[in-house]
Symmetry: none
Amino acid sequence: MANFATMEVGRAQGRRSSWWSVVLYGTALAALILLLKYVEYHYLLRDLRVEVYIGVVAVLFTALGIWMGTKYLEGRRQVEMVTIPVEAPVRVEAVDREEAVRRSGVSGRELEVLELMAEGRSNQEIADRLFISLPTVKSHSSNLFTKLDVKRRTEAVHKAKSLGLIP
Amino acid sequence: MANFATMEVGRAQGRRSSWWSVVLYGTALAALILLLKYVEYHYLLRDLRVEVYIGVVAVLFTALGIWMGTKYLEGRRQVEMVTIPVEAPVRVEAVDREEAVRRSGVSGRELEVLELMAEGRSNQEIADRLFISLPTVKSHSSNLFTKLDVKRRTEAVHKAKSLGLIP
DNA sequence: GCCGATGTCCTACTTTGGTATGGATCTTCC
DNA sequence: GGAAGATCCATACCAAAGTAGGACATCGGC
């Protein structure tokens, strides 16, 4: 029986931020500062005003921040949980079957006979399989037919399936 | 019959970067620069060395960059497509049946007999229903059993179901 | 036109399925 | 301890299912 079920679909995204990424950021920061010092003392600072220097620093560190920001966000992208309705064959049959068997009044042995019948076995094969005699199988099947209110094994199988006694 | 199907699960994430976000960034930048100017001329610069000032600028603009970076990345987070195998009842039975019948070599009339058999009808009932004689039904069923390689009607029904000849 | 597949029908026979009836244990429940 | 139900087995008989082998008609493809 196909019921409606819901399925949780999760997707873990991004990578963990590892210890070396911190080192990387620090190194990048240090490199930038060194670069600034180098620029400061050798070329530009003597001729340019402090505002220009500040501007360069601002641009460079904004760039660094963007880079760090993207890295950071990538490292903590969250798991998105999506619930999607899916039509799927839900296995509640076991419960249904028990209930159906209880209501029908079919006994355990009769049910075993019924199941083998549904597989197309003959009475003799059923007898061999259950280690009982042929008359016993006939007895069980006859009682089974009475309980299911049918006259033939094929009818019994058909009705049993519609009642949910067998899959 | 339940086959395996695949389902495409898509999830569009994040928001589009809009025109005002650029304005926002620019405003924030301007505000920071104004703040620095204010700090520079009124309190700190006279007493502190340029390096300290640079450091403050660096930290502030790094923070700004991080903020911009996260905003930027959030705005362009990509659609993640995940393919998940799902066991679902796929309705391709009509096609499957035709194909199964063709392969099995079961003729049209034999199939009709088979369907009534599966409903638990007796040969006589099948004869009445198809407006043919009992011997004819027997003839059809016998040929059917040969084609399905079975010996009994219950077995035929069981095998026919497993082959997809009947629902 | 012939051949093969299909569908129809028949007789005669064997096998399997199903009913009726009765008896023997065994467990469970009141 | 007895009633009820489940399980097991048996005999006898009838009904249904299935096999074997043949006959005849139709229809479509080669």
